[in-house]
């Protein structure tokens, strides 16, 4: 989901410079104004209604005391809106029960992700990371304005004015007023030049389990997703796409499709043929009746086995050197024990519960889009390009997204291209709702790439790692996207290798080579991106090396993390809470895995039951250090959810090709985890006052290797490739 990989290296805190610019005093004191767009913003086309305090575009306080966060990040369930609101409320001294949120309009100048630069976008587990200072400053500035307003109105010294739970008060005179009552007065106060943020010991909300702001709507059927948007005269469109990637339309026959009651139009697009109808059901039936002739001369025609065979040929050749340190070859030649292993990983679909969909109303002078939009800047640009408009003529209404896992943040905006292309094809004569069916979603590409790893690694007589040669073949995610220049260096896509060369393990002698495979299949980041496969390889190999060295796998890891206290601490914590040294009944096994990604450290211990009993992951104990846990309950939820999400890709999910055609269709043959498979989960969070790091993605990488290592502990059988071949366990 957007490259944190490279952000890790070059831009994890590009905001740092901006924030420090003009800093005059001790840490925590910053000058406002240049980057927090206050009051007379470019967006303020109309003055706020009387009695509404709108000190800047991140915050709105109404006469009814409601405090509304204007969220620059989209909400796919990761809890970003609640997190951002917590930061504002903390410094503002707001009453949590009065907090609300709205999504910000698309405007990269005002709502850019400070990690990514001048781009309005959510991804790479950066929402809290990039907003940590910014949103607290917004709250602090607003609080100072309320204090100043009250002091002036009551003619008392500002130093005697206190704010607590949305109430401004002056103890000596007994005066008090709510934010709502003071909103108009506060609006007239100049924006403070400096704000001082609270120290950690003064926090009242950060680190507590505040209720999510989106629970009510999502439990009463009233939350609005893009699929729920209804516009007057709106037509629903479904698209017939080629069953082989890269095929193009030769001709189509819409005669039968147009006979379906409710079908209004059938139009050709660059990528297929769209059927427009008065409702979804008519559109789907119209598409079933549509006949399209395809040109497959440039299309992907290979099967999965063919691609794997090509990967295996490719890996034998000379790759691109992605990392070299020490002397891996020399150390391996002298190693006491050497393990050579191959790992394969399939294409994976994201399969968010809400299939891709979006609505457009296009006019000659502009267009308005409703979408569970993740990369507003990209989608704005793409829609403008297709429609021949300027980016500022595109208005995007961001809505709650029914999951993403990376799919809604596509740097080439495939579904936005389709949406705008339909609007163009019908000259904008009606609002259009583009809807993907589940089959469209599973078969539609933009998968996690298929990857092949080969590792040769050794240990010396004293049980230390003695050389690590690592080769892999993958499709590059970033090549050909607007992010290519940032993420691809000398042909090496950072997202192919993250988690290997930048491991926190002390591996002195390491050589990493990459081969870029070519395919017509479009690929995309999938929750945790490269870490979704690299962590599995690293943590499985570590386990194997520990075994041949005769070392305990947990202690072996601690030895390699001696210089990384935060990393070692999560390994120790997970092991301790899981009862690492306690015995398990026959047929059960326990395995550990740890990984560092998105600046977050996570260790997991898995317990499994193996055949002859039915295979089951019984329990996962996780320990996480993500810096400050702004909302520990949401951190816990993200780890629980990551386990549920990644379990199905560890155990069964794969997208396979048969002569270029995707074999999977729907949730029967691409089945997400179901409730009966969900293990018991315990999440332990390391108490920390370090700045927050990512939490949406880092829960995914350790799951598969923890399970695989547990399977080995129980059965002595080493399953390396994903999904695990559980049938081989007997």
């Amino acid at each position: 989901m957007i490259p944190l990989g490279f952000a890790n290296k070059v831009a994890i805190r590009p905001s740092r410079r901006a924030f420090l610019k003009g800093a005059t005093a001790a840490a925590g004191t910053f000058v406002l104004g240049t980057y927090i767009p206050f009051r007379k913003s470019a967006l303020a086309q109309t003055a706020p209604p009387q009695g509404v305090f709108e000190p800047n575009v991140f915050l709105k306080i109404g006469a009814d005391d409601s405090v509304t966060l204007i969220s620059k990040h989209f909400e796919m369930g990761q809890g970003a809106t609640t997190g951002l609101a917590t930061l504002v409320a903390e410094e503002l001294e707001a009453d949590w029960s009065k907090m609300r949120f709205e999504f910000a309009p698309n405007n990269a100048k005002l709502y850019n992700n400070l990690v990514f630069g001048p781009v309005m976008a959510t991804g790479g587990s950066t929402s809290m990371v990039n907003s940590w200072v910014q949103m607290r400053q917004v709250g602090a500035a607003a609080r100072m304005m309320f204090v100043a307003a009250a002091a002036e109105k009551w003619r008392v010294p500002a130093a005697e004015v206190a704010v607590q739970k949305g109430v401004v008060s002056h103890a000596p005179s007994g005066r008090r007023a709510t934010f709502g009552e003071l909103a108009s007065d506060a609006m007239r106060v100049p924006v403070p030049a400096n704000v001082t943020l609270k120290s950690a010991s003064e926090w009242k909300l950060i680190g507590t389990q505040l209720a999510r702001l989106d629970s009510l709507g999502k439990t009463t059927g009233t939350a609005t997703f893009a699929l729920d948007i209804r516009r007057p005269g709106m037509l629903t469109a479904v698209i017939k796409r080629p069953e082989r990637f890269g095929a193009t339309v030769v001709s189509f026959d819409a005669t039968e499709a147009k006979k379906v009651d409710g079908v209004v139009d059938v139009v050709q697009l660059p990528t297929g043929v769209a059927v427009l109808a008065r409702d979804t059901w008519a559109a789907v039936r119209g598409r079933e009746a549509l006949k399209v002739a395809w040109d497959t001369s440039q299309a992907e025609m290979r099967s999965t086995a063919d691609i794997l065979q090509e990967y295996r040929q490719l890996i034998e050749g000379q790759g691109l050197s992605a990392a070299r340190r020490g002397d891996a070859t020399g150390r391996l030649a002298r190693a006491a024990n050497v393990i050579e292993a191959e790992f394969t990983f399939p294409y994976l679909a994201h399969a968010p519960m809400e299939p891709l969909n979006c609505v457009i109303e296009a006019r000659t002078d502009g267009a308005e889009i409703w979408s569970g939009c993740q990369l507003q800047s990209i989608d704005t640009f793409i829609a403008a390009q297709v429609l021949g408009l300027k980016p500022e003529q595109i208005k995007i209404n961001t809505l709650l997204a029914g999951g993403s896992f990376g799919r809604r943040g596509n740097p080439v905006g495939d579904w936005t291209v389709e949406l705008a292309s339909i609007a163009k094809a019908i000259n904008g004569r009606a609002p259009v709702h583009l809807v993907w069916t589940r089959e469209d979603d599973i078969k539609g590409g933009f998968y996690r790439p298929m990857v092949l790893h080969r590792v040769k690694a050794g240990v010396d007589a004293s049980g230390q790692i003695a050389g690590w040669q690592h080769k892999l073949v993958s499709q590059s995610i970033f090549t050909g996207t607007p992010f290519e220049q940032m993420a691809v260096k000398n042909g090496v896509d950072h997202s192919s290798i993250e988690g290997i060369a930048d491991t926190h393990y002390a591996i002195a002698d390491l050589a990493l080579d990459v081969h870029n495979a070519k395919s017509r299949l479009p690929v995309l980041w999938w929750r945790s991106v490269g870490h979704s496969h690299t962590a599995h390889v690293m943590e499985t190999m570590l386990d194997e090396l520990a075994r041949v060295a005769g070392r305990d796998p947990m202690a072996f890891r601690l030895g390699l993390l001696a210089q990384q206290p935060r990393d070692a601490a999560v390994v120790r914590l997970a092991a301790e809470k899981a009862g690492w040294n306690s015995s398990l009944p026959r047929g059960k096994g326990r395995g550990i895995a740890y990984h560092y990604s998105f600046n977050t450290r996570i260790a997991m211990v898995a317990e499994v039951t193996t055949p002859p009993s039915a295979f089951k992951v019984d329990r996962i104990v996780a320990a996480v250090d993500c810096g400050v846990a702004i909302n520990p309950d949401i951190v816990t939820a993200q780890i629980e959810g990551a386990i549920g999400f990644a379990l199905s890709s560890a155990l069964r999910n794969q997208v396979m090709l048969n002569k270029g055609v995707v074999e999977q269709n729907n949730f029967d043959d691409y089945e997400p985890t179901r409730i009966r498979e969900m293990p018991k989960v315990e999440v332990h969070i390391v108490k920390s006052n370090e700045p927050p790091s990512g939490i949406g993605e880092p829960g995914v990488p350790p799951i598969a290797p923890a399970i695989g290592n547990a399977i080995f502990a129980a059965t002595g059988k080493r399953l390396r490739s994903l999904p695990f071949d559980l049938n081989s366990l007997g």
Binding site: T220, P352, K680
Partner: protein
């Protein structure tokens, strides 16, 4: 013209009897709390109550439910429904929330028939409802909480 009883109201719909109930609810009656997830009764996002029982509206034709009581998330009410929704809110079960209308409708059916479900009962009863965000730990917990509140 098809006549259906939805959320206690009589609705006249100009649709063919083969139209899936899901699309009649969403596209004709604007009852969008019921979600489309798979269209083949495999994920449960479209779960509604038909005569009080959880049913997958994507795979029921409107012609099949004439004369039956259809209830959607927007109108489901009563002691069990209130307890389930409250437990979901108190435990912050939701993440993306898209599947949760269906999860809640299935949980209400479960608790209406079984006052003290075990984990195994919950797994059996909720197996048809997929949550891709993986909120299952909390779904189990919330159903136990709701059961306690109802006891």
């Amino acid at each position: 013209m098809i006549t259906l009883t939805i959320n206690g109201r009589t609705e006249q719909l100009d649709v063919s009897p083969e139209t899936p109930l899901l699309w009649a609810l969403r596209d004709r009656l604007n009852l969008t709390g019921t979600k489309y997830g798979c269209g083949r009764a495999m994920c449960g996002a479209c779960t509604v109550h038909v005569d009080g029982e959880a049913a997958r509206s994507c795979s029921i034709m409107v012609g099949e439910v004439v004369g039956k009581r259809i209830t959607t998330i927007e109108a489901v009410s009563g002691r069990v429904a209130d307890a389930v929704k409250l437990a979901w809110q108190r435990l912050d079960v939701v993440q993306c929330g898209y599947c949760q209308s269906g999860q809640i409708m299935s949980a209400i059916t479960l608790l209406s028939a079984n006052k003290r479900p075990t984990d195994a009962d919950i797994d059996a009863s909720m197996e048809g409802n997929i949550c891709r965000c993986g909120t299952y730990v909390r779904i189990r917990h919330a159903i136990h909480e709701a059961a306690k509140a109802l006891a």
